[in-house]
Amino acid sequence: MNYFTEVVLSGLTRGSIYALIALGYTMVYGIIELINFAHGEIYMIGAFTALILASVLTIFGFNTIAILFLASIIAIVYSAMYGYTMEKVAYKPIRNSQRLSALISAIGMSMFLQNYVRIAQTSDFLPFPRIIPRFPWLSALPISMSSAQFMIFASTAVVMVLLTFLIKFTKIGKSMRAASQDKVMAKLLGVNVNKVISVTFIIGSATAALGGILISSYTGQINFYIGFLAGIKAFVAAVLGGIGSIPGAVLGSFVLGLTESLGAGYISSDYEDVFAFIILAVILIVKPAGILGKGQIEKV
């Protein structure tokens, strides 16, 4: 396989993971207009919980498939619980205060969760078990894709389809769309806004956790700090695509993932992390609403 396809494949892999995290950012922003800085920590907690469970299950002698499913599902549920609790503790009480307060609270939450995991577990890198089994039929493909990569693409696709379905066709999806346009009006029309916000956090956290588990089994190691950079980059992806827009978040994630991979592959891998921030600066200057976002006029 040539170098170029390898680079592109790795870019798409990254893009998929960013998309899974960016969804939570963009959904939360769409509804309560908050940059949830602690969102990346949920992703990290998802990966940690999966690691812990997988290790425990391995010691108990479960087989690979059982470990994969049990560890992933429990970790996702746990992360959703964390997301739900985080909203109740740190954001709900200050929903009506200044924007600045909510942002500071979010930073505090992020700092707290990171250090909670650092103290309760470890500050070292931990090897992440290969919970994704090898798929022999993958070698039949013309391009060599690892089974972790395959799982990442497949899961991202499934999540996107499910989420689109949820938002377009279900009652809660309709409520979410209503609440994101006008919370007061939605409330008057009988939408339970508190519930909608909780559900948004739960869904966003679950997808982020899925991303955390997948990427960790791809890279093979995690520590308490992985959520920070991934979170920031996913946020950049969300802004790039147009914050508040779900297709935008996905598109932005792939653009960012590819740019990073190509930049690292052809320019310099030392500055890999800088590309994301440069893209952010450029997009804010050129088209602050993002690729798919609509320019918003503030109500006076």
Binding site: S55, T58, R99, I107, L113, D270, V300
Partner: protein, 426 residues
């Protein structure tokens, strides 16, 4: 009574919820190499009891905040007494006479400090004072201007590297580097402020964060110039007319430089906050739409706050480099910025005494409570959240200046008004 029981039951549920929530991370500890599990059941008990207590207090505080319950009995008395006491302290502090005494007392203590204590304590105090300046600088941006900036450590880095690099390549000395470092930091701040001028505040947060990371990554990866992750060693300490000083003398000297910078910062920030420019900043923070409508240029107000705020970071950055004689990018991570942010938020956004006390407490406590040092960031994070929920103004809430108007002045104003009216009638 049933109300109380109900509350306790809710707290019990909360505590069970948190026990469940934290179970995998708090209780299970797997050793992946030996393949053994340690079940730390004591942690479960700790979480259970801890979250129960916190929940009881939290719920009570929340109800107090929303006015659902009033304090009764002992609580009410204590509360009232503390409130009255705080008010009394406030009025006493408001009197100029007391203020002069307090400030001169503090100043005397500050001057005597390095001679009364060991070099170890002097060094700690220098660090704490550094954060006072950093906090006051960031306070201009966030406390007065209302812009969330989470990349302040980058200015600190720019100051430090300005001195280290200018000295290494051009032999520029400490005193010359001070203004250069400060100016460069201010300039950089303006540059990153520019793209966000048209955007709402939250974007600034993320752009500043990104900018700080870029700065750090460049410093870390530009091996040939900055020495990369290994940093720059052998940075000269500050000189005084070419005198040779021993280490403890230099420490004392740096302490006094730092003290002078603290005083300068307080003086300048105090002057600015009650000036035309300070009013613009606060108005922008409180309602930027109304602020524009009243004829204030938001772009200008934002840029001045960003520029002037960053200068202090650069200034103490230079001192930091001169003092430690060695710098590397690891000193300037995002968490450094967040620590500075914490000092501002906890002390009281916009309030000089607030930031001063906040920085001293947050920096000195962990130094002297070593066992807690590893929990420092955890506690800061929790404090930020709690503070925003219950007391967004910080411990020492800013009060705006009251303009004293004597009766005579008032009279003259009214007379002037009457005259003006006559003028128009003519």
């Amino acid at each position: 009574m049933t109300q109380r029981l109900h509350e306790l039951r809710r707290s019990l549920l909360v505590s069970l919820w948190f026990m469940l929530l934290t179970f995998p991370i708090m209780v299970i500890r797997v050793n992946t190499i030996t393949g053994t599990i340690r079940w730390r059941w004591s942690n479960l008990a700790l979480i259970g009891i801890g979250s129960f207590v916190i929940s009881v207090v939290w719920r009570y505080a929340m109800q107090r905040k929303t006015g659902e319950v009033r304090a009764t009995g002992v609580f009410a008395q204590v509360g009232a007494r503390v409130g009255a006491g705080a008010e009394k302290v406030r009025t006493v502090l408001d009197s100029p006479k007391v203020r002069v005494r307090l400030v001169s007392g503090l100043l005397a203590a500050a001057v005597a400090y390095p001679f009364l204590t060991s070099m170890y304590h002097t060094n700690i105090m220098i660090t704490a004072l550094t954060y006072v300046v950093l906090g006051l600088g960031l306070n201009i941006i966030i406390g007065l201007g209302g812009m969330l900036h989470i990349g302040y450590a980058a200015f600190y880095a720019i100051g430090a590297y300005s001195y280290a690099l200018l000295n290494m390549y051009f032999g520029i000395n400490f005193w010359l580097a001070l203004p250069i470092g400060a100016a460069l930091a201010g300039l950089f701040s303006l540059l990153i402020g520019l793209p966000t001028l048209r955007l709402r505040g939250d974007y600034l947060a993320i752009v500043t964060l990104a900018f700080a990371e870029i700065t750090r990554l460049v410093l870390q990866n530009w091996q040939q110039v900055t020495g990369g992750a290994a940093g720059i060693p052998n940075i000269p300490r500050p000189q005084l007319f070419g005198m040779t000083m021993r280490l403890h003398q230099t420490t004392t000297f740096v302490y006094f430089i730092m003290l002078a910078v603290v005083i300068l910062t307080i003086f300048v920030v105090h002057r600015l906050e009650n000036s035309r420019i300070g009013r613009q900043w606060v108005a922008m923070k409180e309602d930027y739409i109304a602020c524009q409508a009243m004829g204030v240029s938001i772009a200008k107000a934002k840029l001045t706050a960003l520029g002037i705020g960053a200068v202090w970071g650069g200034l103490v950055g230079v001192i930091f480099a001169a003092r430690t004689t060695f710098i590397n990018p690891a000193s300037f991570t995002v968490w450094e910025s967040v620590i500075i942010l914490s000092t501002v938020v906890l002390g009281g956004m916009g309030s000089i005494p607030g930031v001063f006390v906040g920085a001293l407490v947050l920096m000195l406590l962990p130094e002297y409570l070593r066992p807690f040092a590893q929990y420092r960031m955890l506690i800061f994070g929790a404090l930020l959240v709690t503070m925003m929920v219950f007391r967004p103004g910080g411990f020492i809430k800013k009060r705006r200046k009251a303009y004293t108007i004597t009766e005579a002045e008032k009279q003259s104003v009214i007379e002037a008004g009457a005259e003006a009216d006559e003028d128009t009638e003519e």
